[in-house]
Symmetry: C2
């Protein structure tokens, strides 16, 4: 059976959504990143990047949430936009994968986790700006299209949902209302039973909840390491 | 004929490499980002993200360098690893696309372009650390494999080459020698005639070379914009 290495963060949750939507049987394997389980040698053999999600599909290892979405969609034929919009599919999937995801991650870091005893105004502003810029592009696109690509719900919508349902955490409470077309799509997906199951998956396991020194040392290794 | 919207930066150059390797006829279209040509309404119709590279393949628009590499490899059947390593192909392509690329971009920003009248030690250290972490993973992988995926040179190597040939600029002059297996692959690719042509493409055009106020205002819009 497909093993799904996960925690409750945005990137694993979009893969959980696909697995639930497609009805694929899977064995969830908890990786508690606040405890440093992503650095266990046996997990680094699965994903040398030391991150979740990753899957072991009967011996085929795939890591990175967007790689997994594309791999599973191609394998099952489910939630994959048609071949005649392949260019659009790859373009918008990469817009989410290389833009929305990385910039949201940086925005979250400087909004919530960077140490408060230093001034991070410049970096905070840079990543909030980039976050808003990406959301405006998405909102303009979704003002003209019900879904990200083609006429049907697809992996590109799932990829976006993973991060966009966290928009308030990434960009502040008032960000959600600024992008009504993104909100419409996020709300539509969140209302699906598969989304509720994907979000609830983490609650079947016990994850470390405290963001204490142990968690910070496992999640933000750069803080303890000075690079020239 | 395929239109290739480009400048001389790392992401367009990896697409230029593919076009040259595959021998695909193309019409290069200069987008001078220091002059703000990426924000022209006619270009935003091609790539709403206002970035290069993008292609117009006889009406099929594709943007994001990694999306273009995958699209062209699938279309032509060239430099695409075999179907039996599809999971590995997508994993490592995404490792480059969502990790090496974005973190290199941030590392470059804080090493070279963030204003010197503020202290950026924390952000600089964060992105240098992440850059080195990614290079170490690549170096360990390439110690055991001649190419990134499978037994042959592919789009995943091209994606890596785009950024890795700039390692000294991203991580400092001494970084190149720290990752000898990455250097071996970069040197092998850089020695190919197609790579020389890809790098030389920009020299057929005149790009603005000064990093002055106009260039900064076009390339780093967050600097002039305060976000809550």
């Amino acid at each position: 059976m497909l093993k799904f290495y996960f925690n409750g963060s945005p990137n694993p949750t979009k893969v959980a959504l696909f697995l639930e939507e497609a009805g694929l049987p899977f064995e969830p394997v908890k990786i508690d990143t606040r405890k440093g389980e992503q650095f266990a040698p046996e997990f680094l053999k699965i994903n040398p990047n030391g991150k979740v999600p990753a899957i072991d599909d009967n011996g085929t290892i795939v890591f990175d949430s967007n790689a997994i979405l594309l791999y599973l969609a191609e394998k099952t034929g489910k939630f994959l936009p048609a071949a005649n919009v392949r260019g659009e599919t790859l373009s918008w999937l990469m817009f989410v994968a290389t833009g929305v995801g990385p910039y949201s991650g940086q925005a979250v870091h400087f909004r919530h986790f960077a140490p408060k005893d230093q001034n991070h105004d410049y970096a905070h502003n840079r990543y909030q700006f980039e976050g808003h810029r990406h959301y405006q592009i998405l909102d303009d696109h979704l003002a003209r299209h019900r879904y990200m690509v083609g006429e049907a719900y697809s992996i590109v919508d799932m990829a976006l949902w993973g991060w966009a349902r966290m928009a308030a955490f990434v960009l502040g409470e008032d960000a959600v209302a600024k992008y009504p077309n993104v909100k419409r799509l996020v709300d539509e997906i969140s209302a699906r039973p598969a989304a509720a199951r994907a979000i609830a998956l983490k609650d079947k396991f016990t994850f470390k909840s405290e963001m204490d020194d142990e968690a910070r040392s496992n999640m933000f290794k750069h803080m303890g390491t000075k690079v020239a």
